[in-house]
Symmetry: C2
Subunit: 100 residues, 2 copies
DNA sequence: TTTACAAATGCAAATATATCAATATTTAGG
DNA sequence: CCTAAATATTGATATATTTGCATTTGTAAA
């Protein structure tokens, strides 16, 4: 049986882990490319960002694991897309706060 | 002279460092307490969160350094408050995405 | 100027992350 | 079944983060 503090602390942990997943230059770049419900494969992202395939897959894995992205196998490819459209808000908010 | 890619990459770095500052359970908790323009001292936050004074100061320093918070000395105390009200959006967004 | 409270800093140990190269797994097509 | 393409995983190394303790700095009041 969990008490209030534990539940609160769990929610904070969850929120932090989701945010930590996003808080990386390459992963923010990935999110920007996926805004508006777009779906992209690992190879497409790896070419768009100009980083290693394995590094790309690793970043996508983190984003999926922490509930930021979903993925769908389509033949040999796997497409990734935003789990919650509203997550774009975070990227937008950052843009406004850092562009002053 | 910076080229487009460098500028873009700089913006991503800046956004990521701001988000990384927020992406910690205690620091999210701090932000929640500061929503709506509230101002709190280091001691108040350290007591609210139940963590060490030095740890609290450290977290506040990170948030200030990365442009999330501002601070103001008032006698022996230092008050901290949100630099941009819209940053509450990020916390709200997380709440919606993690409470499903 | 001495005292006491508030906040910030330096340090060290434990833990977590990021990256790339190499390798493994999955799937489609011959 | 065999091969090639697309992804995922593993291992190793380098780097960064978190925390509390001890100490220092800043400020107000006696």
């Amino acid at each position: 049986m969990m008490n209030i503090q534990e539940i609160e602390s769990d929610k904070l942990e969850m929120a932090a882990s989701m945010l930590k997943a996003i808080a990386h230059p390459m992963r923010i770049a990935i999110l920007k490319h996926l805004e508006g419900g777009k779906k992209l494969t690992v190879t497409e992202i790896h070419e768009l960002l100009g980083i290693e395939q394995s590094t790309t897959s690793h970043h996508l894995g983190i984003l999926k694991d922490k509930g930021v992205l979903c993925s769908k196998r389509e033949g040999k490819n796997t497409s990734y897309y935003l789990k919650h459209d509203i997550l774009s808000q975070i990227v937008d908010c950052l843009q406004r706060c850092t562009c002053e």
